[in-house]
Symmetry: C2
Subunit: 457 residues, 2 copies
Amino acid sequence: MTAAGLLSSTAERFTRSAEATDSPISPNAGFAAWFAARSAAHSYTVERVPLTELPGWGFEPGTGDLRHTSGRFFGFTGVRVRTDRGDWEQPIIDQPEIGILGLVTRDFGGVPHFLVQAKMEPGNTNLVQLSTTVQATRGNYLRAHQGLPTPHLEHFLPPRPGRVLVDRIQAEHSQWFLGTHNRNMVVETDRSVPIGPDHRWLTLGQLWGLLGHDNLLNSETRTVLSCVPVAAPPANTGDPYRDALRRSLAGPGVDDDLLTWFNDGKGAMEPVARTCGLAEVGGWRLADGGIEHESGRHFRVVGVRVEAPTREVTRWSQPLIEPATPGLYGLLVQRFDGVLRILMHARADAGSSRFTEFGPTVQCCDLGDRPVPFRAEVVAEPGPGVVRHDSLQSEKGGRFLNAVNRYRVVELPADRPVPVPDGYRWLSLRQALDLMAQPDQVNIQARTLLTALLSTW
Amino acid sequence: MTAAGLLSSTAERFTRSAEATDSPISPNAGFAAWFAARSAAHSYTVERVPLTELPGWGFEPGTGDLRHTSGRFFGFTGVRVRTDRGDWEQPIIDQPEIGILGLVTRDFGGVPHFLVQAKMEPGNTNLVQLSTTVQATRGNYLRAHQGLPTPHLEHFLPPRPGRVLVDRIQAEHSQWFLGTHNRNMVVETDRSVPIGPDHRWLTLGQLWGLLGHDNLLNSETRTVLSCVPVAAPPANTGDPYRDALRRSLAGPGVDDDLLTWFNDGKGAMEPVARTCGLAEVGGWRLADGGIEHESGRHFRVVGVRVEAPTREVTRWSQPLIEPATPGLYGLLVQRFDGVLRILMHARADAGSSRFTEFGPTVQCCDLGDRPVPFRAEVVAEPGPGVVRHDSLQSEKGGRFLNAVNRYRVVELPADRPVPVPDGYRWLSLRQALDLMAQPDQVNIQARTLLTALLSTW
């Protein structure tokens, strides 16, 4: 079979899975009780510790970078950022590697199911969320932490027994990570997979449904889901919004004009960031055991000591980023001539490795940002717009503490021209998803929102 | 027209241009005299100056980085590199931007021609080579150097009058550049283009022919040419080698298996490089006015003062990299079951931004490298192999001094199995060219060699 043929058959099978909104092997009716039981089964404590007393971590002489004494895991360094939205300096996570975020998939009753697990991460607001089958930093899979081996990792490393259906390298949150990437993988197996009580097989339709719940699918699960291809179903639902969405999924695809517009923006940008020692970052200080901005805004870097008997490593200490305020991530969409269009923003962030990436229409960490980002007020207070998706989602609980952001898709009134500033562009859903087939074109916030949009088909 | 349709029609038109090995408007018969005249017309002097006395440049306090006093243009910083071939430290060019390398194309007699120019660069061994229509750093096109405007730049910046046929972001030499990229562009115009005596319209077939000459097409021209798509002509030449090459151009394309193999290699790598101050780079020293390795090997960073009355800026000083020895870049190819296959090496270099890129079979800067790279001896002394391409080419004369490397394509005896080490893989020409449609997948040395291979069709 050709690559294109394989892709299309994979997309068709995943479409079947997306259309299955319930499953006989993991009925929706049993989900809440299962998840509550698993949440209760994990005992853990997360205790704040001043960074200066964080076991195993220290500030490097000279640079002042915060690093583990082993030199492994991750660290914090500094970055000086120049963008069209202003210049600033900030601490940033330094973890230059490609981790693995993987879902195992298997057919049950002819419908692909995905293996997720209830997993605790120290920074999650509710600690336990649904994670991918495997979530492994390079340190994890090389066993840098000397803990138990990561279960199911063999599906994702060569020589793997199954068939790789999705394998895309995508960036982490570029506002806070300096070029860190993950492989977003889906690997199919036709063998029985040994699972424990924390695991559950869910269809794509069930997972899309859970994306509407607050703080349930962790950011690793969301980014892998965003890479799962589906085929456009017929635009015959009778609902003008859904039909317009399905037409937008069918096309048009990425064309030269779009790529050149995107490249023009990249070429015109100042170089985004230069690294510097953490000690040299202007405007930030060590106070109350954490690193904070003099204004008290943006975020703090804090330390925690964790005990988690159910994790591969049962006890550890680490720094986390604690945002000062919730963020607002919004996608404006509009039916135009019967096809849904999506307003995306080509933007650079502190850790962007490609100068600019497509982000959602609105991406702000702090509604006090000045100037207020274009149309942030429409996302915050939709007014005449129709809210098509609205949820609170947590960012990577292994690196962020209580980082809960609002994700919202708002549909503007149909067929009215909307003037947009430089750097913004209307895309079809097909174009947005095609761009996501390549690394560093669509940021992680937009990927979650595009999945949320897709789930309303 | 769809994007795929446009691409295919563009490829078909460029195929016509590739088949035109001579042109009535720029006959081959007149080329040598024209080029000699243009070389003689450019007067210039390039004089060595110790880095410590280089006007406008200085070593930054603290880091020791070499920078222009304006903070613009480019600089040298340090990098600590870890690869599967060993660990080392080295100076590296720090120029985090996306420049423009552009060819204007226009039909003459129904055949697309490309506008090249005889251009002087201070580091070229013969000073004048054939360059792209436009070669502009971000500083150039924002007029950082306050010189004359770059002629023809308007074709490549919005709002551009013509049609963009090629627009690909590709990396510079990642052995010596830290993440620097260029947009490789071809823009079509149907209007008359004012040109001077240094300009010449050439077909793709003529340019491919000139690639067989030593030190004639500069590295900017070579990388843009490598991005020009062509369609596979029929495999009916009667020559088994050429027919096998044409079949290899027709397919197979990139499949999931290839991408996953490539990603496996990226994921397994150590993070390639960490920057450090130039003053901290171990094993290098300032001596005789340049920066050199203690062993005298690898390369030196030297200063030059340039006078070039025919350039946009007529007088300037700058540092250049001067390699200690010529490099050897070799591609091994083999007919297997009637289809040509190409042995590529997934490798990381000091400035690689994506952990690994595909390079040629052999890429060594110094035949004294230990261990000798796989099959370097076969490229150096082909023995039973057939040499399909052999030329000396200069690297970017705006950054390198006398950097002349041997580029060689060697065909191994057909249909004999060749065991290859980890990290090496046989690709079809179609696969190699498909990978090149994305940034950071195929390095600049391999891009030149693949174009050289293609030119033998």
